[in-house]
Subunit: 210 residues, 2 copies
Amino acid sequence: MSSPLQLYVDARFISPFAMFAFVALHEKSLPFELITVDLAQQAQHAPDYIARSLTNRVPTLSHGDFHLSESSAITEYLDATFPGTDLYPRDIPSRARALQVQAWLRTDLMPLRQERSTDHVFYRTASTMPLSPEASQAKDKLLRIAATLLPAGHDYLFGDWSIADTELALMLNRLVLGGDPVPEHLASYATHQWQRPSVQQWLTLPRPAL
Amino acid sequence: MSSPLQLYVDARFISPFAMFAFVALHEKSLPFELITVDLAQQAQHAPDYIARSLTNRVPTLSHGDFHLSESSAITEYLDATFPGTDLYPRDIPSRARALQVQAWLRTDLMPLRQERSTDHVFYRTASTMPLSPEASQAKDKLLRIAATLLPAGHDYLFGDWSIADTELALMLNRLVLGGDPVPEHLASYATHQWQRPSVQQWLTLPRPAL
Ligand SMILES: [Ca+2]
Ligand SMILES: [Ca+2]
Ligand SMILES: [Ca+2]
Ligand SMILES: [Ca+2]
């Protein structure tokens, strides 16, 4: 008997970090219980949840008695623990580059993330406000780095799929799905990534109306 | 002949992330060239540096022709590539917890990080302003989580040293070295971590006057 898996995610299914952990579990073909935490009701501060999450954030993975937060720690844990689709490249430099992309996307581009929320991605709302100078600069940086990492004609960052593709595509889709102009090969990369079955599983979860 | 190592860090030696990569190289007993990037002069935007760093940030590690940014990706890369002191625990759950701590410290507690800058840590300036309510809440969260991860009497998060100890101690030392009250066992943990030779190597680098 293997230990049961539970994944705690936000009740609106709009956290990119919850999505990445969810996609990782699907890529590994692991059965798991999906548990929602209603952030609007401050449910992340309930003592039971704090005891598991430690940091009052989503996602949290429970694997039997082991509870783990932070999506990048979760995806590394799942990759080290379970067979199935590799979440990371196996060669050390490519793996390091994937980790770099993950860490960068979590700690940079804040004005863009604020002005192009995941509502564009998960509710398909069009963006109506032009980007501020700061967000526009972040957009230019994103597009420059994405184009460097992903030359035209490449479907994946590292030969075949890794979780870094889903994460980079999410950032690009803040623009693509919001209707901002994005160079064609990057837009089609992001669109292609969005067709992946594990991603579609997340996209089709029943969201409350905006 | 092994490929030469170069580490690009900020010229004031106050970036915690540059410090963590520096400490990791010292823990592995690796010879490397330390190269400073003068952020005050916008040197991170020089084309040569962008070509290496990709994201215009410090630190960047060059290992021969391979260039890698983001300190947590660098420490994982070094651990996977070189023998010597383990930077991460070897057992999978402890390793995952260390990665959680790293990811959490990079993406949370922002008001505290702003109001208790690394000047307190690296220049030993005393804090003169009381914490705002937001920073105070972040402080309480830090102390709660640190106490959970580190019961009294434990010298390390995971049995013996890992890079997560240096990272957690840095966050605690924003308070301890700035003169804010911190529970005794956490303060002595942070102080003890600061005696580590690899950390002392960073602390004693020649900093320009404030
Ligand atoms: Ca694997
Ligand atoms: Ca692969
Ligand atoms: Ca190792
Ligand atoms: Ca060890």
